[in-house]
């Protein structure tokens, strides 16, 4: 038996140190545990300050005793390596452990033990804990805003349908994979808009295919006589012009009435709200801001000076102002810029404003990806005889976008977190609804529950998004 030196524990008397250390550590944890869960003070016979710091001192000594390098006991080595490398770390570890034990009982009692779950009025909440009955009663409002109760199935139906349509990509076979981008960028947003306009808003859908078909036929016929050099510009401009001319200049009311379908009661966008509005706003802003940002970033790197400086000015303008002033602008200043008889719905104005705002950020993120590509990629593409668009679509963008997945995900996260700001124009999504419910005279004093609830909801959404983006990043990671 070697001599025990408690100041410097060593491997020779491993078990003596270990057992004394573990028992001391257990004692210190026990003291804190009893104190915090059962308010039993084991050390009350000691003077105040010493009694207060006693668990810390005992725990510190215990951790010092078990700090034995290469003890050969796997668990002990892991503990030492991770939380007990030196005195300072041991102290911090102890403080964190004690803080967790101390804060558990009040949290538990507020969230679960003393909380009220049943009931549908304020009287049901008498306990000192949270009043989850409040959330339960207002749940419908937090989810759907002022949307009429009887019509809420319309929101559910369109969300389920859109989620299903959005999930189509996972089931696509090899044969259809190449059309997926087109589907998600062009077809899906249009379907989503029609769904929301037709089901949630209850608006009429016009099947004005008639105009579209006429416009397409005319432009294709003329297209035969256009030199191939200008075909791209031609097909960008002419069909749309003909379509607009047909629809608004040679206006045929009969054709419109013929293709009009309206099935549901009209619900004002002012009545929309709650979490569903958060989803709608972030969904459309997400869809719009990406292509706009993409073009802006290409514009900023363009050789054409006018396009370049317009893009720079646009991007820097939106990045320089806070979103709340942009929303102010869309609500009080923008109507001044429109003809008197022209009215744009405030939800649409908000979506446009947020999309333009976030597009500037997306543009800067994508520019980072474009700049990170080596020049050789551009040169190689050009030497194969590719033009500007071919080079970007097939060579540059696939690589650049892969690089900036985390950045784009962060921008999208910021977008979702910015949606509560639409309270500025009077649209109440979930946070706005909380503030409304808080001021209801029958439910005063439950602000905390509401904010905790909304925080959890947002945390789940944003955390899931960031984890998904991380997976995406790992999936598309290629060695360069």
């Amino acid at each position: 038996m070697n001599k025990l030196n408690f100041l410097s524990p060593d491997k020779n008397n491993l078990y003596a140190y270990l057992y004394s250390g573990i028992s001391l550590f257990s004692i210190s944890i026990l003291i804190v545990f009893l104190n915090s869960f059962f308010s039993l003070d084991l050390t009350s016979f000691l003077p105040g300050t010493i009694s207060y710091f006693l668990p810390l001192i005992i725990g510190f000594i215990a951790l010092h005793l078990i700090r034995i390098e290469y003890s050969g006991i796997k668990f002990l080595d892991i503990v030492n390596k991770n939380i007990n490398t030196n005195n300072f770390n041991a102290l911090l570890s102890l403080l964190i452990i004690f803080a967790v034990i101390k804060s558990l009982p009040p949290l538990l009692s507020w969230f679960i033990i003393d909380a009220n779950f049943a009931g549908d009025s304020k009287d049901a909440c008498s306990g000192s804990g949270a009043c989850w009955a409040y959330i339960k009663t207002w749940f419908n409002r937090f989810m759907y805003g002022m949307y009429p109760n009887a019509e809420q199935w319309r929101i559910n139906l369109s969300f389920i349908a859109l989620a299903f349509l959005g999930g189509v990509g996972f089931f696509a076979t090899e044969k259809f994979k190449k059309y997926l981008t087109l589907y998600y960028v062009v077809v899906y947003p249009v379907i989503a808009f029609l769904f929301i306009f037709f089901f949630i808003s209850g608006g009429p859908i016009f099947f004005d295919f008639s105009y579209g078909i006429i416009a397409a036929v005319i432009s294709i016929v003329i297209g035969f006589f256009i030199p191939s050099k200008f075909k791209m510009y031609y097909f960008l401009i002419i069909p749309i012009t003909i379509y607009i001319l047909l629809k608004y200049v040679f206006f045929y009311e009969e054709l419109i009435e013929l293709g009009k379908i309206q099935a549901f009661e009209w619900v004002e966008t002012g009545a929309w709200g709650g979490l569903s509005l958060t989803f709608i706003v972030s969904f459309f802003c997400l869809i719009f801001c990406f292509p706009v940002g993409l073009f802006l970033s290409l514009g900023r790197r363009s050789d054409l000076p006018i396009i370049k400086y317009i893009s720079i000015g646009f991007i820097e303008f939106w990045r320089g102002v806070p979103l709340i002033t942009v929303l102010f602008m869309s609500s009080v200043m923008f109507p001044m810029f429109l003809p008197e008889d022209m009215f744009i719905d405030k939800l649409v104005r908000v979506i446009i404003a947020i999309s333009l705002f976030e597009a500037a950020y997306v543009a800067e993120v994508i520019r980072g990806g474009l700049q990170a590509l080596p020049r050789g990629q551009y040169d190689a593409a050009k030497s194969l005889g590719m033009g500007y668009w071919k080079m970007h679509i097939f060579v540059i963008l696939p690589q650049a976008l892969k690089l900036v997945i985390p950045g784009i995900a962060n921008t999208f996260l910021a977008l979702v977190k910015d949606t509560p700001l639409i309270f500025v124009v009077g649209l109440l999504e979930i946070v706005g609804m909380l503030n409304l419910a808080k001021t209801n005279p029958e439910w005063l004093g439950f602000a905390m529950e509401g904010y905790v609830f909304a925080s959890i909801v947002f945390f789940i959404i944003c955390y899931a998004m960031s984890k998904y983006s991380y997976n995406l990043e790992q999936k598309y990671k290629t060695e360069r």
Partner: protein, 381 residues
Amino acid sequence: MNFKKILPQLLTLVVVILVFGFFSYNAQVNMENRGITFGYGFLTQESSFDVQFSLIEYDGSHSYFRAYLVGLLNTILVSVIGIIFATIIGVVVGIARLSSNYLIERTAAIYVEFFRNIPLLLQIFFWYFAALRALPLPEKAEPMFGVFFLTIKGFFIPAFIWNNLDIFIYSVIAAIIAIFFVRAYAKKKQENQGTQTPVLLISIGLLIILPLLSFLLGGVDASIEIPVIEQLSKTSFTYKGGLKLPPELISLALALSLYTATFIAECVRAGVQGVSKGQKEAAASIGLTPNQVLKLVVMPQALRIIIPPTTNQYLNLTKNSSLAAAIAYPDLVLVFAGTALMQTGRAIEIVSITMLTYLTLSITISIFMNWYNKKIAIKEK
């Protein structure tokens, strides 16, 4: 110049001009209809509204321009407070994220994940409407250290009452300039002779001694005024004397700094991790002590990675401080784009001034950042 290059530019220009022309034409027509003439003359008119919290003297008899200044100063105040605390918390948490201690690393990670995934507006509401509302009324407040009173009506702290404050400020500025020179001298000395000067000690000494001299010789005098409870009416109490930080300011600064600190923490972590291991090993192998390795090799390189994104976060914080409007903290947006706009109805002028202010702020900072980036960039041969 060929056709292919001119056409798209021309098209873009035409579209932009058309859109702007359309907007300005409509604006003109609309303003004529409403009988408003465009102009910034209203700025000198009497504002006739009051602001709850203001750093400069202000009441209804002052002009709209002064109201704008009040708002701007309040924005700057909350941004500066937020930036200071966000930096402190962010650096501590960022270093904690790098700790070898599993518990510390996890705690920091949980903090970061939690606070950055919750919308800032929600956090501001939480602090203002839920957390700070749980504070005691003024008459029931327990004093902290005898002089600080944290109540539902605000945080009351002792205030300094100064004599010859300007001399004191000059002495602090002089100390800062002196520190600047000392640092430059120390750097030069190290480059020439390889010896180190205890810059930190000298700096602290200068910062203490010069202001102290201003007390002894410059006739500067400061006394402390402690807030005292005062009865306004039968049930209403408040504190008189001292400095009052309104709850709006506290909750806004708290939310801003806790939220932005998570991003700064990630910047710090990325910066320190970005310094390659070889650098530390090389520095250690030429005989530098661990402290010197940190100070002379790791930190200069890490700062090069940390500072640009962190400045961006400062900018974000300043812009986010406009959320003050939601809890009625009288910042630029609330005072000017809110109250003043409602009173005058001059939407275009006021919104444009507000936006221009923020724009100037961010463009100035980004120009400075570009200059700084160029200055600290690695000079490759």
